[in-house]
Amino acid sequence: MDRAIVVDHLTKNFEVNVKKPGLTGSVLSLIKPEKKIVRALKNISFSVQPGELVGFIGPNGAGKTTTLKVLSGLLYPTNGFIQVLNYDPWERKEEFLKKISLVMGQKRQLWWDLPAIESFELYKEIYELPQHEYAKNLEELVDLLEVRKILNIQVRKLSLGQRMRLELIATLLHKPEILFLDEPTIGLDVVAQQKIRDFLYNYNRKYNSTILLTSHNMDDVVNLARRVIVIDQGKIIFDGILDNLVSQFAKEKIIKVSLSSEENIKEIGKIGKVKKISYPLVILSVPRQTVAVAAAELLQNFPVEDLTIEETPIEEVIRTLFKGSIKNKK
């Protein structure tokens, strides 16, 4: 098999009812519903190799979740070609469904009132796993995610972090070749997030399974994905290695200076955007092209003790991407 996922010129439009505010609006929308077309994905193309771990980032409503839903067969594409493991996802054939899994951080698939082990038993039958395989997979996942003690406790009584780890087991019992994760760490505390991330990282390496994840949490993306796809307003604006993201999107560099006196310190804002002043340290952000000039000016006009020029940290680049402010910068 060559490529795990092929997406070619995919477009997805939603039709939504628009309701005017107030009671009159409600009545009007009943009589004459007003439809609006929302263009969620506009002609996107990409492909993913088996074993890749790809992170989707972009602001709210950019189309990340929509992409995952189309790829898993939940949404019918308006236009374009998609192939996942050589299947057309929309047909949702049983063999296809047995090879994929979708985790939605906000939706639960474990039986709320029963211990998780009961749900696992059900999934064993649903995915028609042989007993020895099921036992082996379960044993392994339980160890990796450290959940042995909570297997027999009603899911409703568990914390969100514990539950999320069990949800992951439920979706991985059948060893899917492709794993779609939509906000897997949403609502978790830092420790729990780290546990999930470590697990996904090891899982991806160990089984060479393809993982696509969307997240609001930039730590997820920075720590997990080597390749990122940035989506904004339904379009792919970046697809590549994480490190290249910085040089492409960070239009500014960071200058850090240590000053020997506070003299003229108010004037320093003329040279670049002041990000932080905590004497003796001043951090400035300066356009890439003029960074040398700015540094020279600093040395000339201010009592500089030390000066360094750095790239914008990757977290910050992503943060700006999340805010959707790319267009303004371009």
Binding site: F14, E15, V16, T66, K69, S72, G73, L74, L75, Y76, W90, R92, E94, L97, K98, I100, S101, L102, M104, K107, R108, Q109, W111, D113, L114, E118, S119, E121, L122, Y123, K124, E125, I126, Y127, E128, Q154
Partner: protein, 267 residues
Amino acid sequence: MKKYLQVLKITFQQEFAYRLNFIMWRVRNVMQIFLLFFLWTSVFSDPARQFFGYDRSKILTYVFGILVIKAIVFSSRTIELSRIISDGTLALYLLKPINFFKYWFTADVASKILNLSFSLVESILLFLILKPELFFQSNPIYLLLFFISLVIAVFLFFAIVFLINMFSFWAPEVGWALPFLFIVIIGDFLSGSVFPLDIFSESAQNIFYSLPFPYLVFFPLQVYLGKISIPTVINGMFISFGWLIVLWFSMKYVWEKGMKKFSSEGI
């Protein structure tokens, strides 16, 4: 099919997890029978009295029959479907290699088995307490027809509940209200589980009989009691089976439409 056996098992456990709800639901059913029982025993205080073709033993059998048949026909998990559609959990079901209809039907069967076993125990207890004279059908043909009519009733109810719940595809906010109204109005009244429908005028009865609802409770009980002639029974079976076909295909059709809606809006 081991898959569905496991669905059966987990649904049992789920029902047990809500023990109190389940018991309250059973209590409600038993209370209803108590009320009806005392109402009809006072109407039929004279054992020789006949009313709308019922004598004392037949009307009391009707009352007990309601308890058992409601447990078989009306017990359902499919009523949760509207919630699953409106909160989007449906997506998770769609991504499992399992047939959605079979899944829910199996869950219903689990609920039916559980309710039926309880209703049988309740009937025996009530029988011991109230010591009513009951009518036992001995004609095997009527018993066979009774059994067939019950099977039709079960599938009819499934299709009706499924259809009503699918309303959530288009109006997620009214999701729960509609099935609820259905259970209260149609379920109890038009199906004959409050009063036998033959106390109504003939023209009203004709209308009822052309609808699918009496075939859920009233008709099977009429067959058991042998109150209608074999040709009338056969005729009723044709009507109810006709309804079953119509509703079953509507269910599949609406499902397709709903899926399209679901997939174009991603609710």
